[in-house]
């Protein structure tokens, strides 16, 4: 007495469902909402920027100045050659998908602070042919190894946030005051924000966060529920840039 066709389909269907749900529950059990797993030793650094506090300081560029100074970021006199790690742009450019007519005009008309989002799923890393751009598993920082960059600019094209700059010209003559414990870059190399990993290792906050006297920026470990960034994200409503792209940016904006 064999199994008929209908019976076979029923059994095999249930089996497939069973395997799939088993897999799914395993996956969800070991990972958080970002889908990345944590064994408690790895960190996930993130930044939170308070747009309300920032907009109250019209024209303030303390964070930008501090970052660009300690990292020997050159200043060119034309937009074409511009190199930037952290900069300001209009709300419209930063959050064009999240706009509607009735947003608080105060926020919409004020520039937004932008930097590399240290995405959890960074397209720049996927396209880099030399692995000069990579994501550090221990802390989630999207790093650049300038020694390896061949200047192909795939990453510049892949980054949906315009966070990368290419050195069209030798930057050194355009650095106002060279800081000697950080390297400069050379012509033909791409660069961007590194979340100040050289300072984090010394237990110091990123230069921009330290420079902001108004407390509009916070930095910390998302894996730690007690961290300042987690606290802010719990208490306030936050948005991220281009969330629909699935890059999982780790710079959050409080509105």
């Amino acid at each position: 007495m064999g199994i008929d066709r209908r019976g076979f389909l029923k059994v095999s269907g249930l089996t497939v469902l069973g395997i799939a749900s088993g897999k799914a529950s395993e996956t969800f059990a070991s990972s958080d909402s970002h889908g990345h797993t944590s064994d408690g030793t790895t960190k996930r650094y993130a930044m939170v920027i308070d747009l309300q506090l920032c907009k109250e300081q019209e024209g303030c560029t303390d964070c930008v100045n501090a970052c660009h100074h300690v990292h020997n970021v050159p200043e060119f006199d034309n937009r074409k050659d511009e190199v930037k790690w952290i900069w300001k742009d209009s709300f419209h450019h930063a959050f064009h998908e999240q706009e509607h007519h009735y947003l608080d005009k105060d926020i919409v008309n004020h520039p937004v602070l932008l930097l590399c989002n240290h995405c959890d799923n960074p397209p720049c890393v996927q396209v880099c042919p030399t692995k000069a751009t990579f994501k550090r598993e221990s802390d989630g920082i999207v790093m650049m190894d300038w020694h390896r960059c061949i200047g192909c600019r795939y990453c510049v094209v892949a980054c949906p946030y315009g966070s990368r700059s290419f050195n069209w010209r030798d930057p050194r003559p355009h650095i106002e005051e060279v800081v000697d414990d950080f390297p400069t870059r050379t012509r033909g190399v791409v660069e961007k924000c590194t979340f100040c990993e050289e300072r984090i290792f010394e237990g110091r906050p990123p230069a921009c966060v330290e420079a902001c006297k108004h407390g509009a920026m916070a930095f910390g470990d998302l894996e730690d529920p007690e961290s300042r960034v987690r606290e802010l994200l719990r208490d306030r409503f936050s948005i991220r840039r281009k969330p629909a792209l699935g890059t999982e940016p780790e710079v959050y904006y409080l509105v």
Partner: protein, 127 residues
């Protein structure tokens, strides 16, 4: 064979002239102008034995580069057990502050032209 003597003498004269730099240095007891390197400004020894350092400092720097940039590690245990930061500007230049009297002198002699200094900053240059 015609003029064998003259040909052989010619060959000998040619060899003597071509090898002049070699036997001149040998006769002089030293190869010409081995560079004098400036002694370290502080500390009795480097992070590896001097001989080893002379031969393999470029490999060491390459390893440091990888450990710092890619693995996020910062400290290196020297052969005498001392912990040093893996930083060319802080650690190497800390003991050998004059790039021109140390790095450059040897590199010029060996005719190697590493591009470390295209990015890494020699503080003396900006004083």
């Amino acid at each position: 064979m015609y003029d064998a003597g003259k040909v052989i003498i010619g060959i000998i004269v040619f060899l003597v002239i071509a090898s002049f730099p070699i036997w001149y240095a040998v006769a002089g007891g030293k190869s010409a102008d081995i560079p004098e390197l400036e002694k370290a400004a502080k500390g009795d020894n480097c992070v590896m034995e001097t001989e080893e350092m002379r031969a393999a400092h470029m490999d060491l720097l390459n390893d440091w580069r990888k450990l710092v940039v890619r693995d996020g590690l910062r400290y290196y245990t020297a052969f005498d057990g001392e912990k040093v930061e893996m930083s060319m500007t802080k650690t190497c230049l800390g003991c050998h502050p004059n790039k021109d009297a140390f790095c450059d002198r040897c590199h010029n002699y060996m005719a190697v032209n590493p591009y470390c200094w295209d990015c890494h900053v020699n503080p003396k240059e900006f004083e």
